[in-house]
């Protein structure tokens, strides 16, 4: 769904719902997912890698990973290509537990780009840091990062977005750069509005695409 100017080496897309008070992870087991008709019987056959403890529950379907803690219910995927399906499942979960969740949710898109060499990573960060007097810059011995934040008020919801660009911190990640885009959507009424959110959701995805392409074209593809 993201029409990007450069193909990411890896993608991670996450929706996170938050409880009004606290979730009991044990409640949201695979049987719950099927009982609430969030997944079909065919999909339930493919649930695997179940990990469970008193304060943690996680399992994977063919395309999605579900992770529940007392503080959050996260549904994530490694392919933005299925963002519409991913949103559909998230919306079903939100609908099922609407009385117990806060009226806001997070959509995080983490894109990981592999550049030609480590010099290209430094060059990208330098070009970001040279943006005149921009306050969202951390440039010290430990790390380099660029961040930009924005808030807008829409008719039915408030929208906050934050972009963070940073080199990969892994040992073999010297050629890699990450763009993290975190969106928080807070409905003015209730989370039930999520059921009627299609067009706004498409606009948010369109905006995310433009944000990514802006940084790809202006800074990464130097």
């Amino acid at each position: 769904m993201l029409d990007l100017k450069m193909t990411p080496f890896e993608e991670q897309v996450k929706f996170t719902l938050f409880p009004k008070y606290s979730f009991d992870p044990q409640e949201f087991n695979t049987a719950w997912l099927y009982r609430e008709e969030i997944i079909t019987k065919a999909e339930s056959k493919n649930l695997s890698k179940i990990s469970s403890s008193q304060d943690y529950m996680s399992y994977s379907s063919e395309f999605l990973n579900f992770e529940i803690t007392p503080k959050s219910f996260t549904i994530q995927t490694r392919s933005s290509e299925i963002l519409a399906y991913h949103f559909d499942i998230t919306r079903s979960i939100a609908s099922s537990i609407s009385s117990r969740i806060r009226n806001d949710f997070d959509l995080r898109l983490n894109l990981h780009f592999r550049l030609k060499n480590a010099g290209k990573v430094k060059q990208t960060m330098k070009s970001l840091i040279e943006i005149d007097n921009y306050k969202g810059i951390l440039n010290n011995i430990q790390s380099t990062a660029f961040q930009i934040e924005g808030k807008t008020e829409q008719k039915d919801f408030n929208f906050e977005e934050r972009v963070l660009i940073t080199p990969c911190g892994l040992k073999n990640g010297e050629k890699d750069i990450h763009i993290f885009l975190k969106n928080n959507i807070a409905f003015k009424d209730t989370i039930k509005d999520l059921n009627y959110f299609d067009e706004d959701f498409l606009r948010i995805v369109e905006k995310a695409t433009k944000v990514f392409n802006f940084f790809i074209e202006k800074h990464i593809q130097l």
Partner: protein, 132 residues
Amino acid sequence: MTLEECLVEHEKDIVSDPHPNEDLFKNQRHKPIYSWTGVVEKITQETLYAKIFDRLENLHSELTFPINMIDSDIVKMLEPESEFYFLKVLNLRNGKEEVKFLPKRRIGNRITDIKTTFKTLFKEYSIQENLK
């Protein structure tokens, strides 16, 4: 939130992306490489007829697909005017490409409306056009 706080918050993602999280996904058999959205027009014992929106080509097209290639549980959920996702996926175990159907969920009493679907599809089309 300061940049330093933001970095701490993202540190989990930076560190966990991609390696430790590989565990969460390694049992997943497929990687979606392309998806279409569609609406069922007619369904017979042998064939599914549907309209799909192909983002790659930026056009609406028609799909005729053998029923026996769709999981029987999914077939039960497909009826005229119901919406579905039609995915082209890479089977990570054998490296072959496959297609899969996933039905769109119905939320509460919300009735899937074919006009809404095509309005949404048209919106996707417009977005593609605007980005050019």
